[in-house]
Symmetry: C2
Subunit: 203 residues, 2 copies
DNA sequence: CCAAAAGTGTTAGAACTACACCCATGC
DNA sequence: GCATGGGTGTAGTTCTAACACTTTTGG
């Protein structure tokens, strides 16, 4: 057995979205051993000649059916026994999609109520969630929302990711003052309460 | 040729220190092809049964002769041709050492004046430097300084990493008010100017 | 008119910025 | 006594945090 082992490289996307006032992760139920029946991240192996980013992009297109999904690396997992079949290093990615772009037929589980997962995928998700909290900024926020949205939705997204409540007046003032959002001039339609003005992210 | 290629996993530590008022990186001159004569990061391959962290720890002990070196992953590089000999993915780490712990016999180059480097090591260093700026906090700062230090040295370290000047009075007030440092009661010795009080990081 | 969510202003305290001179030591 | 870096206070501004009621729509 050589000291320098050749290993497989996987990419594991933690695809987040926000629905039903909760942060959700896309997971799939395994059909084969090991961990048959357990949920897992929809990852895949890096192919010959591909970068990890290209492999991930390929995977995301396959899963979500669109090219324009934000993603970024956050950590690489290398525990020798993390996959019992063969030594595999996994490059963990975060990917973010807004509710209005998620395809039908996929299973989303709330990150706060995950069952036992296959492999070390729970660790991967935990680390991804921490990354999201720590790196939350306008660039990430906009991934969760459609082009036009009420300010209160933005606040809700903030609160769900940061797990913290904000004062509504202060939040609105800050977002506008910081130049993160601007009014579109449009409003919500057909809601059974005062319609909200729609905002968009600036530049 | 199989679609799923097995690859080598390297760990490449970007070891930073601050000397001569500049951020320096530990580099070595390659003795063999490819890139013979060019400088490279002192990386190594992950061995059988090792995590990347363990491999890095082993490497750092080998290079610096001490176990207590702060390090953290920051990015994984997977371009297929990054090493012409064999496909190798490299997990980039940052490691930080204070000037008083650096061993003799190593070459340190200023990050602002690097020559052409072997492989994609320039990219790795550029990304490491950006990570350092973005994640600078008390935990990282303390790695650059000895146990006891004058406040002005702390300010200098800050300025070098952030590439920005600070007001001396404001900086001192902030560090003390934020509870990052505290006085030791000791002072510098044998300096041909007013001796500075020595501080230490709190808790 | 009721329910539901949207929207709005003020004030007190905290944090941040800008700014210039005196102090302690060695030689 | 001079050169060298160490050390200090104040005032204006900006940012943050706390707080409760009115508005607009659909049903």
């Amino acid at each position: 057995m050589p000291a320098y082992e050749r290993v497989l490289i996987a990419v594991d996307p933690v695809i987040f979205t926000i629905t039903h006032d909760h942060l959700q992760v896309l997971l799939r139920q395994r059909e084969k051993e090991p961990f048959k029946g357990k949920y897992e991240l929809p990852g895949g192996l890096v192919q010959h000649g591909e970068t990890a980013e290209l492999a991930l992009s390929r995977k995301l297109t396959e899963i979500l059916g669109t090219q324009n999904v934000f993603f970024t690396q956050f950590h690489t997992f290398t525990a020798p026994q993390r996959d019992p079949r063969a030594r595999t290093a996994s490059i963990g990615f975060i990917a973010l999609v807004s509710r209005d772009k998620i395809p039908a037929g996929e299973e989303w589980l709330s990150v706060d109520q995950l069952p036992l997962l296959a492999f070390d995928h729970k660790d991967i998700i935990t680390k991804a969630r921490a990354y999201l909290r720590q790196h939350l900024d306008a660039e990430l926020l906009r991934q969760f929302l459609p082009e036009k949205f009420p300010l209160n939705n933005l606040q809700l997204v903030h609160e769900i990711i940061m797990q913290e409540k904000y004062d509504n007046r202060n939040f609105r003032k800050k977002m506008v003052a910081a130049g993160i959002v601007e009014e579109t001039g449009e409003s919500e339609q057909n809601v059974s309460h005062r319609p909200a003005k729609l905002y968009r992210f600036k530049s």
